[in-house]
C-alpha cells in the first residue's frame, strides 16, 4: 500500500511533537524513520496507525484519505516496542487474535496461525505463554501476530530496542528477508543509524518533529542536506570555517568544499573517514592519541588554530604509517560539506 502524509502536526501540551511533516512511501518498500529519542518519530508512526490523531494534516493510503479512519479499521499491523503480547494467552492464541476478532472460522485460524509461526521460525511453540519465550522469540511472535490478519501496512516501533546486541543483528537481517518474502509495505522507527541503513530501502530523518531529509541510505550518507543529518549519520568533525571563493579555511587547514555558500562564515562538516593524515614536519596538526577499535583505528589530533580533529582508518592502513602520539602531520580532506551558520536549531544529537 502506498502512503502519503501531508503537513502533519501534533502537539502534546506545549511540546510540538510533530511539526509540518510530509512524505510519501512507495508500495512494497521498507522505510526507516530515524531520529534521536524525543524527535517525534514514534508519534508519526502512531498517527499512521490511528492510535493518535493529528492536530492538522492528512494521511492517505492508496490515494484514499485515512486521517479519520479508526485504528481498528485501518488494516495495519503494529509491532510494539515492548511486544505488548497478551500475557494471558498462549503464543498461538496471540497470533490468532486478529483472526478471532474478525470471526474467522477456527479451522482457517489454526492453519494460518501455524503457517505464520513456521514463517517466523517458531513452529511447535504455539502452546507456550509469552513469559516462556526469550526476548527475540517474543519479538517474532509480535510480528507474526501483526501479520496474521494480512495487513496492508506493517508498522514497527523500535522493533529491536529491547533485545541484546547480538540478537538484534540477527533480527535485522531476518526482518529484511521476511519483508522481501512477504512484501508488505513496512515502516519502522529506530534511533540506531546502523539499523536504519542496513535494513531499509529509504530512510526518513526526523529531528525536533521535523523531517530533515529523506532518501536512500547512500543518498543520505553521501549528501546530508543539513548539518544535523551530517552529524547524526556519522562520526564527524564540525568547524566554523571562513569561505573564500569555494575554499574553506579552518585554522592552518585549507580545503575545497562541495556544497553550501562559497563566501563568508560557514559550518564545515568533515566525516572522520573522509580524512587522510601524512607524517610531515612542520604540517598543520599534532597527533594526540591513537586508539585501536577492533578493525579500525581512531586518531585524535589537534589542528593548529582550530582545535581537535578525529579521523578513522582501517586497522592495517598504509595511512597509519608513522602516525603516533606527538607526531606532526599534514591533513588532506577528501570530502567535506558546508552548511550555513545557524544558531540553535541544528544542535548535535
Amino acid at each position: 500500500m502506498s502512503i502519503r502524509v501531508e503537513h502533519l502536526r501534533k502537539r502534546f501540551g506545549s511540546f510540538q511533537a510533530v511539526d509540518d511533516v510530509s512524505f510519501e512511501v512507495e508500495s512494497g518498500s521498507l522505510v526507516a524513520l530515524l531520529g534521536p529519542s524525543g524527535s517525534g518519530k514514534s508519534t508519526i508512526l502512531r498517527i499512521l496507525a490511528g492510535l493518535e490523531s493529528p492536530d492538522s494534516g492528512s494521511v492517505w493510503f492508496d490515494g484514499e484519505e485515512a486521517t479519520h479512519v479508526h485504528a481498528r479499521s485501518r488494516a495495519i499491523g503494529f509491532v510494539f516496542q515492548h511486544y505488548a503480547l497478551f500475557r494471558h494467552l498462549t503464543v498461538a492464541e496471540n497470533v490468532g487474535f486478529g483472526l478471532l476478532v474478525r470471526n474467522v472460522d477456527p479451522k482457517t485460524r489454526a492453519e494460518r496461525t501455524e503457517q505464520l509461526l513456521e514463517l517466523v521460525g517458531l513452529g511447535g511453540l504455539g502452546g507456550r505463554y509469552p513469559s516462556q519465550l526469550s526476548g527475540g522469540q517474543r519479538q517474532r511472535v509480535a510480528l507474526a501476530r501483526a501479520l496474521a490478519p494480512e495487513p496492508r501496512l506493517l508498522l514497527l516501533d523500535e522493533p529491536f530496542g529491547a533485545v541484546d546486541a547480538k540478537v538484534r543483528e540477527e533480527l535485522r537481517q531476518w526482518l529484511r528477508r521476511l519483508h522481501d518474502e512477504v512484501g508488505v509495505t513496512s515502516i519502522f522507527v529506530t534511533h540506531d543509524q546502523d539499523e536504519a541503513f542496513s535494513v531499509s530501502d529509504r530512510v526518513l530523518i526526523i529531528n525536533h518533529g521535523k523531517l530533515e531529509q529523506s532518501g536512500t541510505p547512500a543518498e543520505i550518507l553521501d549528501e546530508p542536506r543539513t548539518e544535523f543529518v551530517a552529524r547524526f549519520v556519522g562520526d564527524v568533525n564540525v568547524f566554523t570555517a571562513q569561505m573564500d571563493k569555494g575554499i574553506a579555511k579552518v585554522g592552518a587547514l585549507q580545503t575545497p568544499a562541495q556544497s553550501g555558500p562559497s563566501d563568508g562564515q560557514v559550518q564545515l562538516v568533515v566525516r572522520s573517514y573522509d580524512l587522510k593524515f601524512f607524517r610531515e614536519d612542520p604540517g598543520v596538526a599534532t597527533v594526540e592519541r591513537v586508539v585501536p577499535l577492533g578493525d579500525r583505528v581512531r586518531v585524535h589530533a589537534t589542528l593548529d588554530g582550530a582545535g581537535s580533529l578525529v579521523a578513522q582508518f582501517p586497522r592495517r592502513s598504509s595511512l597509519l604509517r608513522g602516525i603516533e602520539a606527538g607526531a606532526r602531520i599534514q591533513v588532506e580532506v577528501t570530502y567535506a560539506r558546508t552548511y550555513p551558520l545557524e544558531s540553535g536549531r541544528n544542535s548535535a544529537p
Binding site: 492510535l51 481498528r72 515492548h82 503480547l85 476478532v101 513469559s131 501476530r145
Partner: protein, 304 residues
C-alpha cells in the same frame, strides 16, 4: 516487579570504608526474642485474644445452644438482610470496580484527580458520619426528600437505606485494586488489540478483563468482608428496626443491649465463620495472583 530485578546489585565500592562489620550482622538472640515477643504479644492482644475469648465463651454455653437462639424470626431476618447486602455488594462492586477503574485510569476528563481522591473518602471518614450526612440529604426534611416523596421512594429506615450505606462504605475496594493493576499494565495490550481489529467491547472482554480479573475478585471480596462487618452506616440509615432493618451486626449490638447474650454469641459465631470463608478465598486469590505474575514476568521455563 521485574524492573527492580533489572537493577544492578549494589556492590560496596572500594573507596567506601565498610561499616563496622558486627553492626551489620543479624541482631543478637536476646534482641530477636524481645522483638518477636513484642510483635506476637501485640497480635495476640488485638487479634487472637478477643476471638479466642469469644470462642471459649461460646464453647461454655455450647455451640448448639448459641446457634439455636438464632432460629427466631428477628434473627433470621437480620441474617437475611446481611446476606442480601453481601450479594448486592458483590454484584455492584464487581461492575463498578471494573468500569470505575477503567474510567478513572484510562479516560481523561477534567476533575479526574479529584474524583480519584474522592473514591478513597469512605476509607477515611467514619461510617456514622456518612450515615448522618445521608440523612441530611434524603432523610425527613432533607434536600432531596421532596423529590423522593414525589416519586414515592423511601430510603431511610428501609432495606434500601442499608444498601445505600453499605455501598458507600465498600466503594473504594474494588475500584482501587483494579486501578492499581490497570496503571501497571499500561495501554500497550489494549492498543495492540485495537490495531488487530478488536472493537472496544472485544478488547474489554478478551484483553482488559482477563488482566484485571484477579484484582477485581480480590477487591470485591474485600468489599464483601467489609459489608458483613459494617455497623455505623447501617445503624444510622436503617435504624436497626427489629424484624425489618436489623442486620447481623446491629442484631448483635441490640442483643447485648437487651442482655440476650447467647443470641449475640450465636450471631458472632456465624459472622466469624462467614468472614473466615471470605478470608480463605482471599488467600487463594493471592496465591493465584502471585502465580500469574510469575507467568507474566517470570523467567523462561522450558516446558512446551
Amino acid at each position: 516487579m521485574h524492573k527492580l530485578e533489572a537493577l544492578p546489585a549494589l556492590r560496596p565500592s572500594a573507596s567506601v570504608r565498610p561499616l563496622k562489620d558486627d553492626k551489620l550482622r543479624a541482631p543478637s538472640p536476646l534482641t530477636r526474642i524481645v522483638l518477636s515477643g513484642l510483635v506476637l504479644g501485640y497480635l495476640g492482644l488485638v487479634l487472637l485474644g478477643p476471638l479466642s475469648a469469644l470462642l471459649v465463651e461460646i464453647a461454655e454455653i455450647g455451640f448448639g445452644v448459641a446457634l439455636s437462639k438464632l432460629v427466631d424470626t428477628t434473627a433470621l431476618l437480620a441474617l437475611k438482610n446481611s446476606i442480601l447486602l453481601l450479594l448486592i455488594t458483590m454484584v455492584v462492586n464487581g461492575v463498578v470496580g471494573a468500569l470505575g477503574g477503567i474510567v478513572l485510569v484510562r479516560h481523561r476528563f477534567p476533575g479526574r484527580a479529584l474524583v480519584s481522591a474522592l473514591c478513597d473518602l469512605p476509607l477515611a471518614v467514619s461510617p456514622v458520619m456518612i450515615g448522618l450526612s445521608f440523612l441530611l440529604l434524603i432523610g425527613k426534611g432533607g434536600v432531596l426528600s421532596p423529590l423522593l416523596e414525589a416519586i414515592n421512594i423511601k430510603l431511610v429506615f428501609t432495606f434500601w437505606g442499608l444498601v445505600l450505606g453499605t455501598l458507600f462504605v465498600t466503594l473504594p475496594y474494588s475500584i482501587r485494586e483494579v486501578s492499581y493493576v490497570l496503571e501497571e499494565l499500561g495501554t500497550d495490550e489494549e492498543e495492540a488489540a485495537t490495531t488487530l481489529g478488536a472493537s472496544p467491547w472485544q478488547t474489554f472482554w478478551k484483553v482488559t478483563l482477563p488482566n484485571i480479573r484477579i484484582a477485581l475478585g480480590y477487591g470485591v471480596l474485600m468489599a464483601m468482608a467489609r459489608s458483613l462487618g459494617e455497623f455505623g452506616a447501617v445503624l444510622v440509615l436503617g435504624g436497626s428496626i427489629s424484624g425489618q432493618t436489623q442486620t447481623a451486626t446491629t442484631f448483635i449490638h441490640d442483643s447485648i443491649e437487651e442482655r440476650n447474650l447467647d443470641a449475640a454469641y450465636g450471631m458472632s459465631l456465624l459472622l466469624a465463620v462467614f468472614s473466615s470463608g471470605l478470608l480463605f478465598i482471599l488467600e487463594r486469590l493471592k496465591k493465584r495472583q502471585a502465580k500469574t505474575q510469575k507467568r507474566a514476568h517470570g523467567p523462561s521455563k522450558q516446558t512446551a
